[in-house]
């Protein structure tokens, strides 16, 4: 009853085309954003910022990047982590070697480098499809970290080959505290999520979906496949590159190329599978699931009396529970958490009537 569209009429085409047509949706989103921007920094503590919220936001952004490519344009990729690494190392080098370059500009340049690399590794997509394409992106996954380790220049000849965050300062404000790093991450993620939600509704986004659903048909109606596919790779690479910079600089502070290994690519892929392909919201739900559930289980396990279960066993049990949860969710809803949320909304609109 609270969530009903009765009485809300679109009187202009513009109003009819908006993303959130329901007033309740707009209010809810506004409240959520206001809460995240204004209230969370006041009530959060170091643990919430550094261990939960920042990784959640960064992984959501990485998921978003892959979702544009896989969920919207239908191109499979296992190179997400490599493009994150490229973005992080490029941003680090731009910041280091160009005196006085603003932080956000280095992030952006890092994203562009990742985008270019992503386009290069996306070139085979013009000829091959589906699982075969994975092989090409897998090559990126092995080549890029190898190059970063092999050539010391990328890490400014650091003996261990790691890069360290530059001072996090924007327009004179020091953002190196946990709260500041959270706000920086949040601002970047909100801006890019807004951009993505507009891209997927633009002509380009519709072209992507046409290519995803049937590329021959898309080509027949005059969509340029190379342009659509390569733009998907480029934009996805840009998002992943920025996510990599955030992962390195606002979350961990110091990273090694090994931190962006195949396991990270799989993690990003699982986020979009669990969250929902072809959905913006799904990335956030998927990332929340992947980040928060293990932590919840682990914190619950910490409440058990010490010595009741062997510490190593307890960890393995958590993994099993988490695995079982994933299976249960995917059996219940193979299209991901975003779809569950959609169904819930559809029911809520008719409540208390039966669906």
């Amino acid at each position: 009853m609270l969530y009903t569209e009765a009485g809300q009429f679109s009187t202009t085409y513009r109003a009819d085309r908006r993303v959130f047509r329901l007033r309740q949706d707009r209010i809810a989103l506004g409240t959520l954003l206001a809460f995240a921007v204004a209230v969370v920094p006041l009530i959060g503590n170091d643990y919430w910022f550094s261990a939960i919220l920042i990784p959640f936001l960064v992984l959501s952004l990485a998921g978003l990047g892959l979702n544009l490519l896989t969920g919207y344009a239908g191109q499979l990729s296992l190179g997400s982590a490599a493009f994150m690494a490229a973005g992080a190392f490029a941003a680090y080098n731009f910041n280091l070697r160009i005196e006085g370059l603003p932080l956000l500009v280095s992030f952006g340049l890092g994203g562009l480098v990742a985008a270019l690399l992503s386009i290069v590794f996306g070139l085979p997509s013009l000829r091959i499809k589906g699982f075969y394409l994975i092989v090409s992106t897998l090559a990126a996954q092995f080549l890029i970290p190898w190059v970063l380790v092999k050539f010391g220049w990328f890490s400014n000849f650091n003996a261990s080959g790691v890069i360290t965050a530059p001072p996090l300062e924007i327009a004179g404000y020091d953002l190196s505290s946990p709260g500041g790093r959270y706000l920086l991450t949040l601002a970047v993620v909100i801006a890019l999520a807004w951009l993505a939600s507009n891209i997927v509704r633009s002509e380009l986004g519709r072209n992507w979906m046409a290519v995803r659903d049937m590329d021959t048909a898309a080509a027949v109606i005059g969509i340029s496949l190379p342009k659509a596919k390569l733009l998907a790779f480029g934009i996805s690479g840009f998002y992943l590159g920025i996510a990599g910079s955030l992962w390195a600089f606002t979350y961990l502070g110091t990273v090694e190329p090994h931190g962006f290994d195949l396991a990270r690519s799989f993690q990003v892929l699982f986020i979009i599978i669990i969250g929902g392909m072809g959905s913006i919201l799904g990335n956030f739900l998927g990332a929340a699931f992947i980040v928060l559930f293990p932590l919840l289980l682990s914190n619950l396990a910490a409440l058990l009396p010490v010595g009741l279960i062997d510490a190593g066993q307890l960890e393995n049990i958590q993994k099993m529970v988490f695995g079982a949860l994933i299976i249960a969710f995917l059996i219940r809803e193979p299209d991901g958490l975003a779809r569950l949320w959609q169904q819930f909304r559809a029911r809520a609109r008719r409540w208390p009537l039966r669906y």
């Binding site: 550094s50 261990a51 261990s160 790691v162 190196s176």
Partner: protein, 442 residues
Amino acid sequence: MSNRNIFRKSLLAALVFGGVSSGAHAAGEQYFPLQSYRIGPYAAGGTGFFGGFIDYLQYVNANGGVNGVKLTWSECETEYVVEKGVECYERLKKGLNGAPAAATNPLSVGIAYATLDRSTADKLPLITINHGRTDSTDGSVFPYAFPLQLNPYSEVSAIVNYIGQQVGGLDKLSGRKIVTLYHGSPYGKETSEVLQKLADKYKFELTLLEVPHPGNEQQSQWLNIRKIKPDYVILRGWGVMNPVALKTAQKVGFPVDRIIGNIWSNSEEDAAPAGAAAKGFVSITTHPSGTAFPVLQGIRKDVVDAGKGNLADPKRFGTVYYNLGVVNGILNVEAVRIAQAKFGNKPLSGEQVRWGFENLRLDDKRLKELGALGLVQPLRLSCADHEGGGAVRFQQWDGQQWKLISEWVQADRGFLRPIIEASAQKYAKEKGISPRDCAKES
């Protein structure tokens, strides 16, 4: 922050009520956050190290704590994964039930890197015993990081010095051939540059060969070694790479006693799986294995025999990883003890314990009192020097266990220091840190 206020209030309340009631808890407790790893690929190292660490803390508690302050700890599983380690760090750093955290000991290069900035911001010492970032030895730039006993540069320098001894003097190294077989990771590469500098200094021929992670296939590298015919091979391995290296060396006919394992190629878990191929393998260690030391006897009596031992497999008592945990426990507890002498016999903040680490002095007399003479090397830390020791002993695998074959061999720290300082300065410049003036530290 509001949490700190609550903490202060509860501490105050605890003091008031504690004083009124009995005083049993009035002394309070000192907390050790343990980012341990008991599952995953490196569980062998984690269970041994944290088992030894916890058992030593229990041993101290069984003997009255540190000047009456009991030690407490809790574990958080990292699986050696960086993000999990960071999460554990954030979860545990605040202390436990009002007991303040003394120091973190992640025993993982990746986690140590990721918590380096945080440790400085939170004023909590980060202990990376026998590993870590080499330039964090320079305490003027890294006030909260302590690569205790041995940093990676000292490690290779000591190995080169030992090889010099074997061939009859460092001047005889000229023209010899040394191959370094390293793990293809930042850890493995860390010493490549300094090895090259040592090669230039002593004019030996150095060949660096990389083994891609995880290192279970090394045929081509060892065929290469057979072609080069080096005098010595330095094995800079990790995990499964070590036994595979030993087995492959045997296959190509390279004498195993000319292979020198580094600090992460030196445990029972590295040698035993290679079976007969490992017999004669030499490696460095900062601490001998074995159970003869009085402190280990004490742990056996007060902890293990009381049924409280942390090891799931009691046979691992006294092995390399376990003893490293005990050594780490001794160093942590001694730092707390030294800090207590300055700040009072009560639970201390991380900042105060940091002072204790920086003023850590362990001479033979003190080591004897601790029952750890020969187990721990004499250490002397300062503001400028967060390593303190830089000596290793060499041991040889006899097929069953490690046998010591040398006295302490010292690294050429005077030669390494300028390299370390240059690297630390570069880091300070990148990060915009202005180094402390160590002359002004007390």
